[in-house]
């Protein structure tokens, strides 16, 4: 058993799957990070992913062009995020409740749409949808172990790495990033400083919709080659927990997403050892909650120590 696990962890095959399962979570986590930094909780990421996954498949099947499918999918993700923004920001609705509504509407709505178009409720296999290309990277490909893990992955995997850098730059190196954080910290102060909080929040919602859209398209046009009902499997919810684990940073999102990716990929392998698949399937979600608790525990301790120092001028003994 231990040998088997050691063997799994050493194999490039395992880490290839880890990277593959991490990427979609990473993308949505980034989306959760950027909206949370602006002080709005995007609970509709799950819905964005579902619609993106479906619209991507439909558009690529209709046009025969996978890139149009990808763009249409991302647009669908953005539309859901914008609806959340419209209700939460313009009509004073509770953003979390709007998220719940949009997820409910998306879970059934995607099945309804799929059935109306294909006559099938479960899978879009009757449509000739396209898949996003695999990419071989010239030099990395020849590296002994790393080449097998990092090269030959789906196009979106590399996009997700670029997305980390872009979100990191937006949040830390650009004026808009400062504005986003100012809005998240204190809306009134931001407004007094001449920032339009609603505009900032809408901006972050659009970005998160695009990221969730990319993730959704990857699920139906890369990870698998079809849309299936409930394809996002709660990844949008995981992202909201992973966002906390990430500590609200783009770089932290990589680690947070990896926690999910490692256990998700392990689930695929552990099924071969004869452990009950039901318990293994529960593992990624359970591990995310545990990670969530551990991180908030340390964050609270750090904050308590900081406050103590602030009030007494002494380090905590």
């Amino acid at each position: 058993m231990l040998e088997f696990i050691a063997g799994v962890f050493g194999s490039s095959n395992y880490w290839f799957i880890v990277v593959r399962s991490t990427a979609p979570i990473l993308l949505v986590t980034l989306g959760a990070v950027i909206t949370e930094q602006a002080g709005i909780k995007n609970m509709a990421l799950e819905g964005s992913m579902l619609w993106a996954a479906l619209v991507g498949v439909l558009a690529s099947a209709a046009t025969g062009n996978v890139w149009i499918g990808l763009l249409a999918g991302m647009a669908a993700g953005v539309v859901i995020a914008l609806i959340l923004g419209l209700f939460a920001l313009k009509l004073d609705a509770n953003a979390v409740l709007v998220g719940v509504a949009l997820n409910l509407l998306s879970t059934g709505g995607t099945v309804f749409t799929l059935f109306a178009i294909t006559g099938d409720k479960g899978i879009s296999s009757s449509l000739a949808s396209k898949t996003l290309p695999m990419i071989t990277i010239p030099f990395i490909k020849d590296m002994p172990w790393l080449g097998k893990v990092l090269s030959g992955q789906n196009f979106i995997i590399y996009v997700s790495i670029v997305a980390v850098i872009i979100i990191h730059v937006i949040l830390n190196k650009m004026t808009i990033g400062r504005r986003i954080r100012a809005t998240g910290e204190n809306v009134e102060a931001a407004r007094a400083a001449g920032i339009d909080p609603d505009r900032i929040k809408f901006f972050t919602l659009i970005v998160s919709g695009m990221l969730a859209g990319l993730a959704g398209c990857f699920l139906s046009m890369g990870y698998t080659s079809n849309f299936t009902s409930g394809i996002s499997a709660g990844r949008g919810y995981v992202a909201n927990a992973a966002q906390v684990v990430a500590g609200g940073t783009a770089i932290g999102s990589i680690f947070a997403a990896l926690i999910f990716g490692v256990t998700d990929a392990m689930a695929t392998f552990l099924q071969n050892v004869g452990l009950p698949p039901e318990l293994i399937q529960a593992l990624p979600y359970a591990v995310t909650i545990v990670g969530f608790i551990v991180v908030t525990f340390f964050r609270d301790r750090r904050e308590a120590a900081r406050k103590l120092k602030l009030f007494t001028g002494k380090e905590k003994r």
Partner: protein, 377 residues
């Protein structure tokens, strides 16, 4: 409510209702949301169906055209009532947890175990199952509350994740401990006959759970509006800081409100399984908690209106089911309508539209008078 109000007659309270704009307007908006969703449903049917008129007729009138559909609606109201009541309590305390989904599902699993393995007389058997399921459901309900109190974890996020964990754990228990291996399809061992709830009407599926649900509506209404605990829950919902300054232990209130809510979910799961089935045969989680969100919102978080909104939702579900079996529109289209209802009712600007307009008009009148007075001077 004070004594003076309690004494007034029914007729008077009805007329009060129609003159009291504060009460009337939100009720009108709720009605509007419900009607709007039905109209949107009709529009959607015309969009996708090849026989739209027949489908619309099946959807809107189907539930009343057949006798069995009326029973079917009453049966469908039972789980909706339980999850709706559970979410009323959560929403009254201004929390968002959706863990009731797990409480309901695991409650059904616990009841299955009781129904298969315990030998008890009829009547006592389902009661024991309900109590066991309720207790386990309540304990599950506590988890997001503990995470919230101890680690400030958003209870909606943690409950959604826990729902996945408990779904897989529940189906693991069914598969490995309670499964009937002689059946080709996934099914638990058959229940003992003492476990099944009695039928209210012969040759129909309408079971005693309908009456139990009605009793629970009364109990929860009393709990929320006639006891100290209900008052405390409403108090922390109205203003958590004020409640804690007033000397209330906010964590305690959050904990027991979540326990009660989970308990209701668990009992609902047990009733559903012992009322409708002869063995546990759910292949997927029926997820009544999401419907419970709409029931609670349509009831304006008030337990006594839960039967009305549960009836409306049951009507929509039965109509959609009837239509989808006879036509080309998928049953799932009602989730679109349900989502719309939540969107409308969650929007303060829409719900308070009349109130805001009235306030604005009075404010303008007053400023007009002030200006006239100032001009006269």
């Amino acid at each position: 409510m004070n004594k003076h109000q309690e004494k007034r007659s029914l007729g008077k309270s009805i007329s009060m209702f129609f003159t009291d704009r504060e009460a009337l307007e939100p009720a009108l908006i709720t009605l509007f949301a419900a009607l709007f969703s039905l109209l949107a449903g009709v529009a959607l049917i015309f969009l996708v169906s090849k026989e739209p008129v027949q489908s619309v007729q099946n959807f809107l009138l189907g539930p009343f055209l057949r006798k069995y559909n009326i029973y079917y609606m009453m049966i469908a109201m039972v789980p909706l009532t339980f999850t709706g009541l559970a979410l009323c309590i959560i929403y009254q305390s201004k929390h968002m947890s959706l863990i009731v989904d797990s409480s309901f599902y695991i409650g059904a699993v616990v009841a299955t175990a009781v129904g298969i393995h315990l030998t008890l007389p009829a009547g006592v058997h389902p009661a024991v199952a309900m109590l066991a399921a309720g207790t386990v459901g309540g304990l599950i309900g506590l988890l997001p509350a503990i995470l919230k109190i101890r680690w400030r974890a958003n209870e909606l996020v943690s409950s959604l994740m826990l729902n996945y964990v408990f779904y897989f754990v529940g189906s693991f228990i069914i598969l490995y401990f309670l499964r009937d291996r002689n059946q080709s399809i996934l099914s638990s061992l058959p229940f003992k006959t003492t476990f099944l709830l009695p039928r209210l009407v012969p040759n129909s599926q309408l079971h005693a759970g309908f009456i139990i649900a009605a009793v629970f509506v009364v109990l929860v209404s009393i709990f929320m509006y006639r006891t100290k605990w209900g008052y405390e829950i409403r108090l922390i919902g109205a203003n958590q800081k004020f409640a804690s300054y007033a000397g209330l232990s906010v964590p305690t209130v959050i904990l027991y409100s979540h326990f009660v809510s989970g308990f209701l979910g668990g009992v609902g799961g047990a009733i559903e399984i012992s009322g409708l089935y002869k063995a546990f045969i759910w292949q997927v989680n029926p997820s009544y908690a999401w419907d419970g969100v709409i029931v609670a919102m349509l009831a304006r978080k008030n337990p006594k209106f839960v039967p009305i909104s549960a009836f409306f939702l049951a009507y929509m579900r039965v109509g959609a089911d009837f239509m989808s079996r006879r036509g080309d529109v998928a049953f799932e289209f009602i989730t679109l309508l349900q989502g719309m209802i939540i969107l409308i009712l969650a929007s303060d600007k829409i719900v308070n539209y009349f109130k805001a307009r009235r306030l604005k008009r009075t404010a303008l009148q007053q400023s007009g008078q002030a200006r006239a007075v100032a001009g006269g001077l």
